[in-house]
């Protein structure tokens, strides 16, 4: 996966709570055999509605998804993260994530920004009022800033997850740090095992 240090841009305000992974990517999409193309399935049940926020021209080109509380609860499907990323989002902000979704996010390089409720509400109102509001998420420092409204806050990011994101290490990447040990282990396997 790609390393991510700074996410800078505008946000789409998805002002709903308890958006579960079934809503992020409906189960019909799970039959696919590819890892890509899930952007079309993102919120597909809602996107038919004209006034759904993702259809609002003013938010076109945003790279941050601003969600409500309990974002990404429900089934463990990793496809939810793929859909959000493939649509073009690099970070998701919420006051509380479903734990599996959050874990899946970091494994795929999508930055989960879990902020306090006050910050979340301030941001939601500000982005709804001004779609061009510039937001900066700094992974190294675990900070989120929106200078135009004087917002500067921090979020929780464990050392190991920060390391993963900054270095672009997925699970395979982490394991491949031990590639020398894997190689020497292979050299020691019994010959009858081929």
């Amino acid at each position: 996966m790609e390393p991510v240090a700074i996410v800078q841009g505008t946000a789409v305000p998805l002002d709903r709570s308890d958006v579960d992974t079934d809503q992020i990517i409906p189960s019909d999409w799970l039959k696919r055999v590819e890892r890509t193309g899930f952007e079309k399935g993102l919120f597909s049940e809602w996107r038919d509605g004209e006034d759904f926020v993702l259809n609002n021209e003013e938010y076109a080109g945003a790279n941050i998804l601003l969600g409500g509380p309990n974002f990404g609860t429900g089934s463990s499907r990793e496809h939810a993260v793929w859909a959000i990323q493939q649509y073009g989002f690099a970070a998701v902000i919420s006051p509380r994530f479903g734990p599996i979704f959050k874990n899946n996010s970091t494994k795929n390089g999508l930055v989960p920004v879990e902020v306090d409720t006050a910050t979340a509400e301030t941001l939601m109102a500000a982005v709804q009022a001004d779609p061009t509001l510039e937001i900066t998420i700094d992974v190294e420092r675990a900070t989120i800033e929106a200078p135009a409204i004087g917002l500067a806050s921090t979020f929780d990011l464990s050392e190991s997850i920060r390391h993963r994101l900054l270095n672009g290490l997925d699970d395979i990447g982490i394991t491949m740090q031990q590639v020398d040990k894997i190689g020497s282990f292979e050299g020691s396997r019994p010959s009858y095992m081929a």
């Binding site: 890509t36 494994k107 395979i172 894997i182 010959s191």
Partner: protein, 480 residues
């Protein structure tokens, strides 16, 4: 947390170890405080359902398969078992099979396709081709990978992202599991089979009794089982929640393996056997959990409900939900009876059956077909009964035909099919209709498992065959 890092919990340096710990310890590539261990994987089996996105993930990240020669693929989960020379009708099934073929071709993985003599259910072909060997780690994107534990291998199912991880690194990050000993003492009564042994274990352990554990099956009854029987037992480890089940290898194991295409040969064979003989739990090794069963109590069993732990002897009556002490079990029984369309107090032997399925990675090997054929011989399937006999692989089918088993089945009125998973999970056209009742030699009786609204009862091959003839649940002895 240090015990988290060095393998199954009871591992003490130089102390007595179980076979579970011995095999685990042999495969630790890297262990660090507070992290899962990195285990080397000796054999990775792949099928069409859980692999496509793993291959696609490799493509996206430009990663090769580290050891393609330790990876073997087959088409099984949704291949049709009739008219296999025709294109697959279902578009999702067809896409999955086509994608597997394309991926194996691109990444250089050996694939056994529909129609190939070596094709079959992934957990049948691994052992049959001698790929599965004692002391190995074996993984596959399928929960019944535990089957391979019958050889003293540490074998378990993994998810799609883990499939990608194994393809790329030939390793897996694994947290420690508890160990569990399941001892079956004494001797089986005449007429009881390996399937009855595992159904008895399920009844004793319940569906959650093995959660978080790796089980070792041991004791005289287990040692007396053939390899086919041991595979039947290990296959259903996951049904009581265990991640894996293992049986220490012995002469029965070595005899089965000797001469198989991928088994070691010559001097390598002798070296391998000498090594495999060390794969036994040491005297004094301890387990975190233990179940002891007396083999003499094991009679032909069947499931009556909607989870594999809801088992009773075939001679019993449908249970009364009120008779369960635990309120949760009582509620579950009431729900199960409603779904299954059964009334408390009815003798199970009076319950009429619509479909008999003999197959699946639990019971589709040559010995299973022999057991069923012995019952079918010279008899006739009940009028109106639908029957499917689905061999586990092309090789099983060929062997059965050489022995004339197919003629016995066909003359008795059974439908003789091509290899695959078939009605075990009904991803192909072999399904139950709503309300239809099956006697099935497979491993899961969940609601809808064999088709929406279908009612599944798990039984042994001999009981399945006897039931096909009687029209209601029956043991072979009931036919005389």
């Amino acid at each position: 947390m240090s015990e988290e890092t060095t393998g199954p919990k009871t591992n003490i340096e130089n102390g007595p170890r179980t076979i579970i710990e011995k095999v685990w310890d042999r495969h630790v590539v890297h262990a660090a405080e507070g992290e899962p261990s990195l285990l080397y994987i000796d054999l990775h089996l792949v099928h069409e359902v859980t692999s496509p996105q793993a291959f696609d993930g490799l493509r996206l990240t430009n990663r090769p398969i580290r050891r393609p020669e330790l990876t073997v693929a087959t088409e099984d989960h949704n291949v049709p078992t009739a008219d296999i020379d025709q294109p697959i009708a279902d578009p999702v099934s067809k896409a999955q099979v086509d994608t597997l073929r394309k991926n194996c071709d691109e990444f250089g993985v050996k694939l056994y396709s529909m129609g190939d003599i070596n094709q079959g259910i992934v957990h049948v072909i691994g052992p049959e081709l001698g790929l599965t060997q004692p002391g190995m780690t074996v993984v596959c994107g399928d929960s019944h990978t535990s089957t391979h534990g019958a050889f003293g291998a540490l074998a378990f199912g993994i998810g799609t992202s883990e499939v990608e991880h194994v393809l790329a690194t030939q390793t897996l990050q694994q947290s420690a599991q508890e160990t569990m000993a399941i001892t079956v003492n004494g001797e089986l009564p005449e007429g009881s089979t390996a399937k009855d042994v595992v159904l008895a274990i399920l009844g004793a352990a319940d569906t959650g009794g093995g959660i978080g554990a790796i089980a070792e099956f041991r004791g005289p009854v287990i040692e007396a089982l053939s390899m086919e029987g041991r595979m039947t037992v290990c296959n259903m480890s996951i049904e009581f929640g265990a991640k894996a089940g293992m049986i220490a290898p012995d002469d029965t194991t070595f005899e089965y393996l000797k001469g198989r295409p991928n088994a070691p040969s010559g001097a390598e064979w002798d070296a391998a056997v000498a090594d495999w003989k060390t794969l036994r739990s040491d005297e004094g090794a301890t387990y975190d959990r233990e179940i002891i069963i007396d083999g003499a109590d094991i009679v032909p069993y069947m499931t009556w409900g909607t989870n594999p732990g809801q088992v009773l002897p075939i001679s019993a009556d449908v249970p009364d939900p009120a008779s369960f002490e635990d309120p949760g079990a009582s509620d579950a029984a009431a729900r199960a009876l409603e779904y299954m369309g059964l009334t408390a107090g009815t003798p199970l032997k009076d319950v009429p059956v619509d479909t008999v399925f003999i197959g699946s990675c639990t019971n589709s090997r040559i010995e299973d077909l022999r057991a069923a054929a012995a019952v079918a011989k010279g008899r006739k399937v009940k009028d109106g009964m639908r029957t499917l006999v689905v061999p586990g692989s092309g090789l099983v089918k060929k062997q059965a035909e050489e022995e004339g088993l197919h003629t016995i089945f066909i003359e008795a009125g059974f439908d003789w099919r091509e290899p695959g998973c078939s009605m075990c999970l009904a991803m192909n056209p072999d399904k139950l209709a709503p309300g239809e009742r099956s006697a099935s030699t497979s491993n899961r009786n969940f609601e809808g498992r064999q088709g929406r609204g279908g009612r599944t009862h798990l039984v042994s091959p001999a009981v399945a065959a006897a039931t096909a003839i009687a029209g209601t649940f029956a043991t072979p002895a009931d036919l005389d």
